[in-house]
Symmetry: C2
Subunit: 352 residues, 2 copies
Amino acid sequence: MLAAVLHAPHDVRVQERPDPRILTSGDAVVRVVAACVCGSDLWSYRGVNEVREPRPIGHELVGVVEELGAGVTSARVGDFVVLPFSLSCGECQACRAGFPSTCDRVTYFGSTDRDGLPVDGAQGERVRVPLAQHSMFGVGRPLDELESAGLVPHLLTLADVMSTGYHAAVSARVGPGDTVAVVGDGAVGLCGVVAAKLLGAERIVAMSRHADRAALARAFGATDVVAERGEEGVAALRDLLDGDLADAALECVGTAESMDQSFGVVRGGGRIGFVGVPHGPALSVERMFRRNITVGGGMASARRYMAELLDDVLSGAIQPGRVFDLELPLADVAEAYAAMDERRATKVLLQP
Amino acid sequence: MLAAVLHAPHDVRVQERPDPRILTSGDAVVRVVAACVCGSDLWSYRGVNEVREPRPIGHELVGVVEELGAGVTSARVGDFVVLPFSLSCGECQACRAGFPSTCDRVTYFGSTDRDGLPVDGAQGERVRVPLAQHSMFGVGRPLDELESAGLVPHLLTLADVMSTGYHAAVSARVGPGDTVAVVGDGAVGLCGVVAAKLLGAERIVAMSRHADRAALARAFGATDVVAERGEEGVAALRDLLDGDLADAALECVGTAESMDQSFGVVRGGGRIGFVGVPHGPALSVERMFRRNITVGGGMASARRYMAELLDDVLSGAIQPGRVFDLELPLADVAEAYAAMDERRATKVLLQP
């Protein structure tokens, strides 16, 4: 089969890879209907995360079940499924508590499983899915119906980006009437806007300095946009809020600057939900103590949120797939990465 | 009047100080009925926090209103009141949101107010109370009735220690059915046990290696005691919980070790409520991210919790005043500090 392989910084290629097959009774093989490129893939693509050897890449996909191990009874061949970016057992304490991304057996695409067996990347034609019994999320509708309703891109976001934006909002305990500042206008930040609105936020301030992203943020429910950053961004927010600050901030970048910005925009007793993969942010516990700022988040409980968000996606109440502003065939994966790296695209959908 | 003054590390004395008087229309003068020594006072007493010049000390008191500024209508002369360790305006955003300890005008005993006027320490015969309109909490019952019911020590804990233990539990979002580990067996940790039980925790593990404190923790509702620390403490907790970890931890010390211990004892997706004044703890955002650990807390919303906890104190449902294991006259303040410093006492009540 064909799949994307990252060879070195700025060198990602589609190439022939072994066809996945069932290796354990808990596996499934899924044919990829759509995949996409994540902001976190760019950390490796840019060489910020070291690339030691060529490796398959990608961790977001929807697809159709082609084969099932003997132990997998939660889906049937032919089912359309969403796969979360992290695979989980469903049985350990963290899974039972609703945090499958911290599962004792957590396994990632483009890596190896807990038995040391290779796991394909999501940017390819097919994947072996370990821990399939719990990890695969059946949508309950056939592919052709979903395709003709234009729902595939929206469902694909449940694999990671929408679930991650939602995790930011859930971790910041966004609720009815809240004023929420969203730090970061990438696809995750935009989905954070969707999530904040869904959870009842009254005022949603998107911190964005890209006109197209700001426009989508407004379409998603942002009531205000602040283009300034740092202290100027805080001042602009105060102006909007008659001197007040936000009840909650969604940190959707993962840098020291974005975490600092998040601290700056929340009131005493405020909450920060952080989902940007941390690259630099240091947390001052003194600062948290003095202002009673709560910080929570991390890798999203995608598998759990799929169930919570499915109805809203199927009904069209939320349309997070609008974050995809470029669709390319898998063969053009190099251009997909380049477009995101150069900010010519917010998020790219790949069709194998 | 007589009041305690900290002159230098290990040198605290009772001496004559000017009688407090009304300096602004928002002031009150309160006669101190009971005060106490806080674990956080020991940071200065031990010289960990620098002592640059002699200063009045103490921030926990209950008393009777003796005088009121023209602008204070929330109490009457003769009322028995509890004062929170931090004084607040009740009007700024943080106050309105229920976080008076991060008030825009927050003012502390033994310091100066926002007008630069001196504020007495609580370990003395009388105090001037700035921001009295919002800060003073009237108990609604006369002193003699409270004294004969033995309620004064319990009410005194609302000034700080019980409110702080409660803040740890609230910040860790302790709820019905939770398993909670309490890190620290000082007076705050013990009050954290009271709070966890009050909020419905099913299993409360006190991490204590002092037999007397462990016994009081059990009396307060701890279901288990773990004497080990570090990795051994985590292993002991896992043994108790059939391999599981706690849903929440209350960090009631403020050192790097206690924060690390708190991270160690909570499951993926767990919550840490921290109220120990930070002296050292660094927070690894990567660690929080990877395990989805939420960290919240800081200076307690004492003024708010007084209202929430008053009925339980008056009814005897909670008896947090049992943390006082030594009562001394104000004149013996040096012995009060020494006893706490040398761990001969958990918490000392002072009678002016």
